[in-house]
Chain length 284, copies 2
Protein backbone atom coordinates (compact mmCIF):
# COMPACT_ATOMS: atom_id res chain seq x y z
CA UNK A 1 0.00 0.00 0.00
CA UNK A 2 1.47 3.37 -0.94
CA UNK A 3 0.55 6.64 0.76
CA UNK A 4 2.11 10.05 0.32
CA UNK A 5 4.14 10.99 3.43
CA UNK A 6 2.50 13.91 5.26
CA UNK A 7 4.89 16.51 6.74
CA UNK A 8 3.41 16.29 10.22
CA UNK A 9 4.35 13.74 12.82
CA UNK A 10 0.82 12.99 14.06
CA UNK A 11 -0.43 12.55 10.49
CA UNK A 12 2.51 10.24 9.67
CA UNK A 13 1.53 8.11 12.66
CA UNK A 14 -2.16 8.09 11.70
CA UNK A 15 -1.38 7.14 8.10
CA UNK A 16 0.88 4.33 9.29
CA UNK A 17 -1.79 3.08 11.71
CA UNK A 18 -4.31 3.04 8.87
CA UNK A 19 -1.97 1.03 6.61
CA UNK A 20 -1.30 -1.53 9.33
CA UNK A 21 -5.04 -1.87 10.13
CA UNK A 22 -5.77 -2.51 6.46
CA UNK A 23 -2.93 -5.01 6.09
CA UNK A 24 -4.15 -6.87 9.20
CA UNK A 25 -7.39 -7.63 7.39
CA UNK A 26 -5.43 -9.17 4.50
CA UNK A 27 -2.67 -11.14 6.17
CA UNK A 28 -1.49 -12.68 9.39
CA UNK A 29 1.03 -10.15 10.64
CA UNK A 30 3.69 -11.26 13.09
CA UNK A 31 5.79 -8.09 13.42
CA UNK A 32 5.99 -4.45 12.35
CA UNK A 33 9.10 -3.24 10.52
CA UNK A 34 9.51 0.45 9.70
CA UNK A 35 12.10 1.98 7.34
CA UNK A 36 12.37 5.72 7.94
CA UNK A 37 14.39 8.78 7.01
CA UNK A 38 16.67 9.93 9.85
CA UNK A 39 19.24 8.11 11.96
CA UNK A 40 17.77 5.37 14.17
CA UNK A 41 19.18 4.42 17.58
CA UNK A 42 21.05 1.17 18.27
CA UNK A 43 17.94 -0.40 19.84
CA UNK A 44 15.92 0.11 16.65
CA UNK A 45 13.36 1.96 18.73
CA UNK A 46 13.33 5.61 17.63
CA UNK A 47 14.82 8.31 15.43
CA UNK A 48 17.67 10.27 17.01
CA UNK A 49 17.76 13.95 16.12
CA UNK A 50 15.97 15.36 13.11
CA UNK A 51 16.96 16.16 9.55
CA UNK A 52 15.54 18.69 7.11
CA UNK A 53 13.31 15.96 5.64
CA UNK A 54 11.48 15.32 8.89
CA UNK A 55 9.09 17.28 11.12
CA UNK A 56 11.00 18.62 14.14
CA UNK A 57 9.03 16.55 16.68
CA UNK A 58 9.52 13.28 14.75
CA UNK A 59 12.40 12.20 16.98
CA UNK A 60 10.19 12.46 20.06
CA UNK A 61 8.10 9.47 18.95
CA UNK A 62 8.99 6.24 20.72
CA UNK A 63 8.13 4.15 17.65
CA UNK A 64 8.94 0.78 19.14
CA UNK A 65 6.96 1.41 22.31
CA UNK A 66 3.98 3.09 20.56
CA UNK A 67 3.52 0.44 17.85
CA UNK A 68 4.22 -2.51 20.10
CA UNK A 69 1.53 -1.48 22.54
CA UNK A 70 -1.01 -0.29 19.96
CA UNK A 71 -0.86 -3.45 17.84
CA UNK A 72 0.53 -5.93 20.35
CA UNK A 73 3.20 -6.86 17.79
CA UNK A 74 7.01 -6.76 18.07
CA UNK A 75 8.20 -3.61 16.27
CA UNK A 76 11.51 -2.57 14.76
CA UNK A 77 12.50 0.71 13.11
CA UNK A 78 15.63 1.27 10.99
CA UNK A 79 17.01 4.03 8.79
CA UNK A 80 15.86 3.53 5.19
CA UNK A 81 19.34 3.61 3.65
CA UNK A 82 20.60 1.11 6.22
CA UNK A 83 17.60 -1.11 5.59
CA UNK A 84 18.10 -0.86 1.81
CA UNK A 85 21.73 -1.90 2.24
CA UNK A 86 20.59 -4.86 4.32
CA UNK A 87 18.13 -5.88 1.61
CA UNK A 88 20.84 -5.73 -1.06
CA UNK A 89 23.12 -7.77 1.18
CA UNK A 90 20.53 -10.44 2.02
CA UNK A 91 18.57 -10.79 -1.21
CA UNK A 92 19.91 -8.31 -3.77
CA UNK A 93 23.07 -7.39 -5.66
CA UNK A 94 25.41 -8.04 -2.71
CA UNK A 95 23.96 -11.44 -1.80
CA UNK A 96 26.70 -13.86 -0.81
CA UNK A 97 29.21 -11.18 0.24
CA UNK A 98 29.98 -10.18 3.82
CA UNK A 99 31.34 -6.66 3.38
CA UNK A 100 29.17 -4.40 1.29
CA UNK A 101 28.28 -0.72 1.00
CA UNK A 102 25.04 0.45 -0.59
CA UNK A 103 24.81 4.08 -1.61
CA UNK A 104 21.59 5.76 -2.65
CA UNK A 105 22.02 8.29 -5.44
CA UNK A 106 18.85 10.32 -5.32
CA UNK A 107 18.07 13.94 -4.41
CA UNK A 108 20.72 13.42 -1.74
CA UNK A 109 23.19 10.62 -1.01
CA UNK A 110 22.45 8.07 1.69
CA UNK A 111 24.32 4.97 2.62
CA UNK A 112 24.29 1.73 4.54
CA UNK A 113 27.40 -0.27 5.37
CA UNK A 114 27.61 -4.00 6.05
CA UNK A 115 30.68 -5.28 7.88
CA UNK A 116 31.06 -9.03 8.42
CA UNK A 117 27.35 -9.41 7.76
CA UNK A 118 26.25 -6.73 10.22
CA UNK A 119 25.04 -3.15 9.75
CA UNK A 120 27.53 -0.48 10.81
CA UNK A 121 25.63 1.67 13.31
CA UNK A 122 28.31 3.56 15.25
CA UNK A 123 28.02 4.70 18.84
CA UNK A 124 24.54 6.21 18.48
CA UNK A 125 23.13 4.62 15.30
CA UNK A 126 24.04 7.54 13.03
CA UNK A 127 26.93 5.90 11.13
CA UNK A 128 26.92 5.61 7.33
CA UNK A 129 26.52 9.30 6.49
CA UNK A 130 28.61 8.80 3.37
CA UNK A 131 26.91 11.72 1.63
CA UNK A 132 29.03 13.88 3.91
CA UNK A 133 32.48 12.67 3.03
CA UNK A 134 34.23 15.90 2.02
CA UNK A 135 35.66 16.13 -1.48
CA UNK A 136 37.47 19.40 -1.08
CA UNK A 137 39.42 21.59 1.32
CA UNK A 138 38.60 25.18 0.32
CA UNK A 139 34.87 26.06 0.68
CA UNK A 140 33.49 25.67 -2.83
CA UNK A 141 30.04 24.13 -3.06
CA UNK A 142 27.63 24.37 -0.15
CA UNK A 143 25.82 21.25 1.03
CA UNK A 144 22.36 21.01 2.59
CA UNK A 145 24.14 20.12 5.87
CA UNK A 146 25.59 23.63 6.02
CA UNK A 147 29.16 22.54 5.24
CA UNK A 148 31.01 22.65 1.94
CA UNK A 149 32.17 20.13 -0.67
CA UNK A 150 30.26 17.11 0.61
CA UNK A 151 30.03 14.06 -1.69
CA UNK A 152 26.25 14.69 -1.73
CA UNK A 153 26.73 18.28 -2.95
CA UNK A 154 28.43 16.88 -6.07
CA UNK A 155 27.33 13.35 -6.89
CA UNK A 156 23.63 13.42 -5.89
CA UNK A 157 20.93 14.37 -8.38
CA UNK A 158 20.85 17.85 -6.91
CA UNK A 159 24.64 18.08 -7.15
CA UNK A 160 24.67 16.84 -10.73
CA UNK A 161 22.12 19.52 -11.73
CA UNK A 162 24.24 22.17 -10.04
CA UNK A 163 27.32 20.95 -11.94
CA UNK A 164 25.39 21.15 -15.22
CA UNK A 165 24.19 24.67 -14.52
CA UNK A 166 27.65 25.86 -13.46
CA UNK A 167 29.30 24.31 -16.53
CA UNK A 168 26.73 25.88 -18.87
CA UNK A 169 27.91 29.29 -17.70
CA UNK A 170 31.58 28.39 -17.81
CA UNK A 171 32.54 26.26 -20.80
CA UNK A 172 32.24 27.21 -24.51
CA UNK A 173 30.81 23.79 -25.47
CA UNK A 174 27.43 24.90 -24.14
CA UNK A 175 27.03 27.29 -27.10
CA UNK A 176 27.09 24.32 -29.48
CA UNK A 177 24.94 22.06 -27.31
CA UNK A 178 21.42 20.88 -28.15
CA UNK A 179 20.52 22.41 -24.78
CA UNK A 180 21.71 25.92 -25.70
CA UNK A 181 18.23 27.42 -25.79
CA UNK A 182 17.36 26.30 -22.28
CA UNK A 183 17.53 28.79 -19.45
CA UNK A 184 20.14 27.89 -16.79
CA UNK A 185 17.43 27.10 -14.24
CA UNK A 186 15.77 24.67 -16.67
CA UNK A 187 18.89 22.56 -17.23
CA UNK A 188 18.52 19.18 -15.55
CA UNK A 189 20.11 15.76 -15.24
CA UNK A 190 17.46 14.10 -17.41
CA UNK A 191 18.19 16.30 -20.44
CA UNK A 192 21.93 15.99 -20.00
CA UNK A 193 21.81 12.19 -19.81
CA UNK A 194 19.63 12.13 -22.94
CA UNK A 195 22.04 14.51 -24.69
CA UNK A 196 25.03 12.42 -23.62
CA UNK A 197 23.46 9.34 -25.18
CA UNK A 198 22.91 11.32 -28.40
CA UNK A 199 26.60 12.36 -28.49
CA UNK A 200 26.25 16.00 -27.45
CA UNK A 201 29.66 17.27 -26.36
CA UNK A 202 28.51 19.59 -23.58
CA UNK A 203 26.37 16.81 -22.13
CA UNK A 204 29.33 14.43 -22.32
CA UNK A 205 31.53 16.83 -20.36
CA UNK A 206 28.79 17.39 -17.76
CA UNK A 207 28.08 13.66 -17.42
CA UNK A 208 31.77 12.81 -17.11
CA UNK A 209 32.30 15.52 -14.50
CA UNK A 210 29.56 13.93 -12.38
CA UNK A 211 31.01 10.47 -13.04
CA UNK A 212 34.45 11.64 -11.88
CA UNK A 213 32.96 13.06 -8.67
CA UNK A 214 31.16 9.78 -8.07
CA UNK A 215 34.42 7.86 -8.62
CA UNK A 216 36.32 10.02 -6.10
CA UNK A 217 33.76 9.33 -3.35
CA UNK A 218 33.61 5.59 -4.06
CA UNK A 219 37.42 5.33 -4.16
CA UNK A 220 37.63 6.81 -0.67
CA UNK A 221 35.04 4.31 0.57
CA UNK A 222 36.89 1.39 -1.03
CA UNK A 223 40.17 2.47 0.60
CA UNK A 224 38.53 2.76 4.00
CA UNK A 225 36.45 -0.44 3.99
CA UNK A 226 38.09 -2.87 1.52
CA UNK A 227 34.54 -4.10 0.77
CA UNK A 228 33.52 -6.96 -1.52
CA UNK A 229 31.34 -4.52 -3.41
CA UNK A 230 29.66 -1.14 -3.52
CA UNK A 231 26.03 -1.28 -4.62
CA UNK A 232 24.41 1.81 -6.14
CA UNK A 233 20.69 2.36 -5.74
CA UNK A 234 18.33 5.31 -6.21
CA UNK A 235 17.15 7.28 -9.23
CA UNK A 236 20.59 7.86 -10.75
CA UNK A 237 21.71 4.24 -10.38
CA UNK A 238 20.33 3.45 -13.84
CA UNK A 239 22.67 6.04 -15.37
CA UNK A 240 25.97 4.67 -14.06
CA UNK A 241 28.44 2.93 -16.39
CA UNK A 242 29.33 0.16 -13.94
CA UNK A 243 31.97 -1.61 -15.99
CA UNK A 244 33.83 1.66 -16.64
CA UNK A 245 33.82 3.02 -13.09
CA UNK A 246 34.66 -0.35 -11.53
CA UNK A 247 37.76 -0.50 -13.71
CA UNK A 248 38.83 3.07 -12.86
CA UNK A 249 38.19 2.64 -9.12
CA UNK A 250 40.17 -0.62 -9.03
CA UNK A 251 43.08 1.21 -10.64
CA UNK A 252 42.93 3.98 -8.04
CA UNK A 253 42.60 2.07 -4.77
CA UNK A 254 45.42 0.85 -2.53
CA UNK A 255 43.21 -1.96 -1.19
CA UNK A 256 42.09 -5.07 -3.13
CA UNK A 257 39.73 -5.08 -6.18
CA UNK A 258 36.00 -4.79 -5.58
CA UNK A 259 32.79 -4.92 -7.60
CA UNK A 260 30.61 -1.89 -8.34
CA UNK A 261 27.06 -3.17 -8.75
CA UNK A 262 23.61 -1.87 -9.57
CA UNK A 263 21.03 -2.42 -6.84
CA UNK A 264 18.43 -5.11 -7.42
CA UNK A 265 15.88 -4.59 -4.67
CA UNK A 266 14.07 -1.67 -6.31
CA UNK A 267 12.10 1.15 -4.72
CA UNK A 268 10.89 -0.97 -1.81
CA UNK A 269 14.38 -2.03 -0.73
CA UNK A 270 14.10 -0.08 2.54
CA UNK A 271 10.92 -1.93 3.48
CA UNK A 272 12.34 -5.29 2.39
CA UNK A 273 15.48 -4.72 4.46
CA UNK A 274 13.54 -3.63 7.54
CA UNK A 275 11.33 -6.71 7.21
CA UNK A 276 14.37 -9.02 7.03
CA UNK A 277 15.91 -7.29 10.07
CA UNK A 278 12.64 -7.85 11.98
CA UNK A 279 12.49 -11.49 10.86
CA UNK A 280 15.99 -12.05 12.23
CA UNK A 281 15.56 -10.01 15.41
CA UNK A 282 12.27 -11.62 16.37
CA UNK A 283 13.17 -15.12 15.10
CA UNK A 284 10.22 -15.24 12.70
CA UNK B 1 65.06 -4.82 22.08
CA UNK B 2 65.33 -2.36 19.22
CA UNK B 3 66.97 -3.16 15.89
CA UNK B 4 67.02 -1.10 12.71
CA UNK B 5 64.81 -2.71 10.04
CA UNK B 6 66.91 -4.03 7.13
CA UNK B 7 65.45 -3.54 3.64
CA UNK B 8 65.74 -7.19 2.73
CA UNK B 9 63.25 -9.90 3.57
CA UNK B 10 65.76 -12.58 4.60
CA UNK B 11 67.60 -10.10 6.83
CA UNK B 12 64.31 -8.99 8.41
CA UNK B 13 63.57 -12.62 9.23
CA UNK B 14 67.07 -13.24 10.61
CA UNK B 15 66.94 -10.12 12.78
CA UNK B 16 63.53 -11.14 14.11
CA UNK B 17 64.77 -14.68 14.85
CA UNK B 18 67.72 -13.22 16.75
CA UNK B 19 65.46 -10.97 18.85
CA UNK B 20 63.19 -13.87 19.72
CA UNK B 21 66.13 -16.14 20.62
CA UNK B 22 67.47 -13.45 22.94
CA UNK B 23 64.08 -12.82 24.52
CA UNK B 24 63.63 -16.55 25.11
CA UNK B 25 66.67 -16.53 27.39
CA UNK B 26 65.10 -13.74 29.47
CA UNK B 27 61.46 -14.72 29.74
CA UNK B 28 58.97 -17.52 29.42
CA UNK B 29 57.41 -16.81 26.01
CA UNK B 30 53.98 -18.25 25.25
CA UNK B 31 53.29 -16.70 21.83
CA UNK B 32 54.82 -14.57 19.10
CA UNK B 33 53.02 -11.37 18.04
CA UNK B 34 54.32 -9.35 15.09
CA UNK B 35 53.25 -5.80 14.12
CA UNK B 36 54.31 -5.04 10.56
CA UNK B 37 53.98 -2.48 7.79
CA UNK B 38 51.66 -3.64 5.00
CA UNK B 39 48.13 -5.06 5.01
CA UNK B 40 47.79 -8.40 6.80
CA UNK B 41 45.28 -11.09 5.78
CA UNK B 42 42.20 -11.98 7.82
CA UNK B 43 43.91 -15.05 9.30
CA UNK B 44 46.73 -12.93 10.73
CA UNK B 45 49.17 -15.16 8.90
CA UNK B 46 50.91 -13.06 6.23
CA UNK B 47 51.22 -9.72 4.47
CA UNK B 48 49.07 -9.35 1.35
CA UNK B 49 50.62 -7.36 -1.46
CA UNK B 50 53.55 -5.04 -0.94
CA UNK B 51 53.93 -1.34 -0.35
CA UNK B 52 56.80 1.02 -1.11
CA UNK B 53 58.07 0.54 2.45
CA UNK B 54 58.60 -3.19 2.06
CA UNK B 55 60.88 -5.45 0.00
CA UNK B 56 58.92 -6.88 -2.94
CA UNK B 57 59.19 -10.50 -1.72
CA UNK B 58 58.01 -9.67 1.80
CA UNK B 59 54.45 -10.80 1.03
CA UNK B 60 55.71 -14.26 0.07
CA UNK B 61 56.68 -15.04 3.64
CA UNK B 62 54.16 -17.24 5.46
CA UNK B 63 54.89 -15.57 8.80
CA UNK B 64 52.48 -17.61 10.86
CA UNK B 65 53.68 -20.94 9.47
CA UNK B 66 57.40 -20.06 9.55
CA UNK B 67 57.47 -18.73 13.11
CA UNK B 68 55.12 -21.35 14.52
CA UNK B 69 57.28 -24.19 13.26
CA UNK B 70 60.64 -22.57 13.99
CA UNK B 71 59.83 -21.67 17.60
CA UNK B 72 56.98 -24.07 18.31
CA UNK B 73 54.93 -21.10 19.55
CA UNK B 74 51.53 -19.82 18.36
CA UNK B 75 52.17 -16.80 16.11
CA UNK B 76 50.07 -13.86 15.00
CA UNK B 77 50.89 -11.01 12.63
CA UNK B 78 48.91 -7.78 12.26
CA UNK B 79 49.33 -4.48 10.45
CA UNK B 80 51.09 -1.98 12.73
CA UNK B 81 48.44 0.75 12.45
CA UNK B 82 45.68 -1.77 13.17
CA UNK B 83 47.64 -3.10 16.13
CA UNK B 84 48.27 0.43 17.42
CA UNK B 85 44.54 1.18 17.20
CA UNK B 86 43.85 -2.00 19.15
CA UNK B 87 46.33 -0.95 21.83
CA UNK B 88 44.68 2.48 22.17
CA UNK B 89 41.28 0.78 22.37
CA UNK B 90 42.30 -1.79 24.97
CA UNK B 91 44.73 0.12 27.17
CA UNK B 92 45.17 3.63 25.79
CA UNK B 93 43.24 6.80 25.01
CA UNK B 94 40.15 4.96 23.70
CA UNK B 95 39.88 2.53 26.62
CA UNK B 96 36.26 1.97 27.57
CA UNK B 97 34.81 2.89 24.18
CA UNK B 98 33.61 0.39 21.57
CA UNK B 99 33.89 2.44 18.35
CA UNK B 100 37.23 4.12 17.87
CA UNK B 101 39.53 5.18 15.05
CA UNK B 102 43.27 5.67 15.56
CA UNK B 103 45.15 7.60 12.91
CA UNK B 104 48.92 7.78 12.74
CA UNK B 105 50.24 11.15 11.63
CA UNK B 106 53.81 10.46 10.64
CA UNK B 107 55.67 10.51 7.32
CA UNK B 108 52.44 9.07 5.93
CA UNK B 109 48.98 8.51 7.41
CA UNK B 110 47.95 5.09 8.65
CA UNK B 111 44.85 4.03 10.45
CA UNK B 112 43.11 1.34 12.43
CA UNK B 113 39.37 1.21 12.99
CA UNK B 114 37.54 -0.48 15.87
CA UNK B 115 33.85 -1.27 15.41
CA UNK B 116 31.92 -2.77 18.31
CA UNK B 117 35.21 -3.79 19.88
CA UNK B 118 36.61 -5.48 16.78
CA UNK B 119 39.20 -4.42 14.20
CA UNK B 120 37.77 -3.53 10.79
CA UNK B 121 39.64 -5.76 8.36
CA UNK B 122 37.51 -5.79 5.18
CA UNK B 123 37.28 -8.65 2.72
CA UNK B 124 41.04 -9.21 2.46
CA UNK B 125 42.48 -7.52 5.57
CA UNK B 126 43.41 -4.27 3.80
CA UNK B 127 40.71 -2.02 5.30
CA UNK B 128 41.58 1.15 7.18
CA UNK B 129 43.61 2.89 4.47
CA UNK B 130 42.36 6.25 5.70
CA UNK B 131 45.44 8.02 4.36
CA UNK B 132 43.84 7.56 0.96
CA UNK B 133 40.52 9.29 1.51
CA UNK B 134 40.50 11.85 -1.29
CA UNK B 135 40.23 15.52 -0.34
CA UNK B 136 39.78 16.91 -3.81
CA UNK B 137 38.31 16.30 -7.24
CA UNK B 138 40.70 17.95 -9.70
CA UNK B 139 44.23 16.47 -9.67
CA UNK B 140 46.19 18.84 -7.46
CA UNK B 141 48.71 17.22 -5.14
CA UNK B 142 50.18 13.86 -5.98
CA UNK B 143 50.27 11.14 -3.33
CA UNK B 144 52.84 8.36 -2.91
CA UNK B 145 50.08 5.92 -4.02
CA UNK B 146 50.13 7.47 -7.50
CA UNK B 147 46.74 9.19 -7.14
CA UNK B 148 46.01 12.80 -6.27
CA UNK B 149 44.67 14.72 -3.27
CA UNK B 150 44.85 11.91 -0.72
CA UNK B 151 44.47 12.86 2.97
CA UNK B 152 48.04 11.62 3.41
CA UNK B 153 49.32 13.98 0.71
CA UNK B 154 48.08 16.91 2.84
CA UNK B 155 47.89 16.07 6.52
CA UNK B 156 50.94 13.78 6.98
CA UNK B 157 54.33 15.19 7.93
CA UNK B 158 55.39 14.99 4.30
CA UNK B 159 52.18 16.74 3.22
CA UNK B 160 52.58 19.45 5.85
CA UNK B 161 56.13 20.18 4.61
CA UNK B 162 54.86 20.38 1.05
CA UNK B 163 52.16 22.85 2.15
CA UNK B 164 54.78 25.00 3.88
CA UNK B 165 57.03 25.02 0.82
CA UNK B 166 54.16 25.85 -1.53
CA UNK B 167 52.88 28.64 0.71
CA UNK B 168 56.36 30.16 1.01
CA UNK B 169 56.33 30.68 -2.74
CA UNK B 170 52.78 31.94 -2.85
CA UNK B 171 51.88 34.22 0.03
CA UNK B 172 53.45 37.60 0.88
CA UNK B 173 53.61 36.80 4.61
CA UNK B 174 56.72 34.70 3.96
CA UNK B 175 58.74 37.85 3.28
CA UNK B 176 58.15 38.99 6.85
CA UNK B 177 58.61 35.58 8.43
CA UNK B 178 61.47 34.54 10.72
CA UNK B 179 62.02 31.78 8.16
CA UNK B 180 62.56 34.16 5.23
CA UNK B 181 66.25 33.34 4.85
CA UNK B 182 65.69 29.61 4.53
CA UNK B 183 65.76 28.00 1.12
CA UNK B 184 62.45 26.44 0.07
CA UNK B 185 63.86 22.92 0.35
CA UNK B 186 65.01 23.60 3.93
CA UNK B 187 61.59 24.65 5.19
CA UNK B 188 60.17 21.99 7.48
CA UNK B 189 57.34 21.26 9.90
CA UNK B 190 59.57 21.56 12.95
CA UNK B 191 60.58 25.17 12.18
CA UNK B 192 57.03 26.16 11.30
CA UNK B 193 55.61 24.73 14.52
CA UNK B 194 58.30 26.59 16.48
CA UNK B 195 57.55 29.78 14.55
CA UNK B 196 53.82 29.35 15.14
CA UNK B 197 54.41 29.13 18.88
CA UNK B 198 56.49 32.33 18.69
CA UNK B 199 53.66 34.18 16.91
CA UNK B 200 55.14 34.30 13.38
CA UNK B 201 52.34 35.09 10.94
CA UNK B 202 53.55 32.95 8.02
CA UNK B 203 54.00 30.00 10.36
CA UNK B 204 50.50 30.56 11.75
CA UNK B 205 48.98 30.47 8.24
CA UNK B 206 50.94 27.33 7.34
CA UNK B 207 50.03 25.57 10.60
CA UNK B 208 46.36 26.48 10.27
CA UNK B 209 46.28 25.27 6.66
CA UNK B 210 47.55 21.89 7.83
CA UNK B 211 45.09 21.92 10.73
CA UNK B 212 42.21 22.63 8.34
CA UNK B 213 43.24 19.71 6.10
CA UNK B 214 43.41 17.45 9.14
CA UNK B 215 39.93 18.60 10.21
CA UNK B 216 38.43 17.84 6.76
CA UNK B 217 39.71 14.25 6.82
CA UNK B 218 38.59 13.63 10.40
CA UNK B 219 35.14 15.11 9.71
CA UNK B 220 34.63 12.65 6.86
CA UNK B 221 35.63 9.77 9.14
CA UNK B 222 33.27 10.96 11.87
CA UNK B 223 30.36 11.17 9.40
CA UNK B 224 31.05 7.66 8.10
CA UNK B 225 31.65 5.87 11.41
CA UNK B 226 29.87 7.87 14.16
CA UNK B 227 32.73 6.76 16.45
CA UNK B 228 33.10 7.43 20.17
CA UNK B 229 36.47 8.98 19.45
CA UNK B 230 39.30 9.49 17.01
CA UNK B 231 42.75 8.99 18.52
CA UNK B 232 45.77 10.65 16.93
CA UNK B 233 49.18 9.03 17.22
CA UNK B 234 52.51 9.46 15.47
CA UNK B 235 55.11 12.22 15.36
CA UNK B 236 52.69 15.07 14.66
CA UNK B 237 50.18 14.04 17.34
CA UNK B 238 51.99 16.24 19.88
CA UNK B 239 51.32 19.30 17.71
CA UNK B 240 47.54 19.03 17.48
CA UNK B 241 45.28 21.44 19.37
CA UNK B 242 42.79 18.79 20.47
CA UNK B 243 40.28 21.04 22.19
CA UNK B 244 40.07 23.34 19.18
CA UNK B 245 39.70 20.72 16.47
CA UNK B 246 37.25 18.62 18.49
CA UNK B 247 35.00 21.68 18.77
CA UNK B 248 35.24 22.48 15.05
CA UNK B 249 34.67 18.86 13.97
CA UNK B 250 31.64 18.52 16.24
CA UNK B 251 30.18 21.64 14.62
CA UNK B 252 30.73 20.20 11.13
CA UNK B 253 29.44 16.64 11.45
CA UNK B 254 25.88 15.42 10.82
CA UNK B 255 26.40 12.50 13.24
CA UNK B 256 26.68 12.77 17.04
CA UNK B 257 29.54 14.47 18.96
CA UNK B 258 32.80 12.59 19.41
CA UNK B 259 36.10 13.05 21.22
CA UNK B 260 39.40 13.79 19.48
CA UNK B 261 42.15 12.38 21.68
CA UNK B 262 45.92 12.15 21.81
CA UNK B 263 47.28 8.59 21.74
CA UNK B 264 48.67 7.22 25.00
CA UNK B 265 50.43 4.00 24.02
CA UNK B 266 53.59 5.64 22.66
CA UNK B 267 56.02 4.38 20.05
CA UNK B 268 55.51 0.73 20.94
CA UNK B 269 51.74 0.83 20.49
CA UNK B 270 51.91 -1.51 17.46
CA UNK B 271 53.74 -4.15 19.47
CA UNK B 272 51.48 -3.71 22.49
CA UNK B 273 48.37 -4.08 20.30
CA UNK B 274 49.73 -7.17 18.52
CA UNK B 275 50.57 -8.72 21.90
CA UNK B 276 47.01 -8.09 23.19
CA UNK B 277 45.55 -9.58 20.00
CA UNK B 278 47.71 -12.68 20.49
CA UNK B 279 46.72 -12.91 24.16
CA UNK B 280 43.06 -12.91 23.15
CA UNK B 281 43.40 -15.19 20.13
CA UNK B 282 45.44 -17.82 21.95
CA UNK B 283 43.58 -17.45 25.29
CA UNK B 284 46.75 -16.58 27.19
Amino acid sequence: MVEKTPFNTQKILKTTYKIIEQLKTQANISAIAIATAGAVDNNNSKVIGSTGNLPSDYSQIEFKKVFTSKFNLPTLIENDANAAAYAEFKTGAAKGSQNSITITLGTGIGGGIIINGKLLKGKSGAAGEIGHIMLGIEPKRKCTCGEYNCFEAYASGTGFRKTIQELSQKIPEFKYSILVNKHTSELNTYDVIEGYKKGDNFCKIAYETWEKELIIGLTSLANIFDPDNIVISGGLSKEVNYEKIEKIINEKIVTTPLKILEAKSGNFSGMIGAAILAQEKFNL
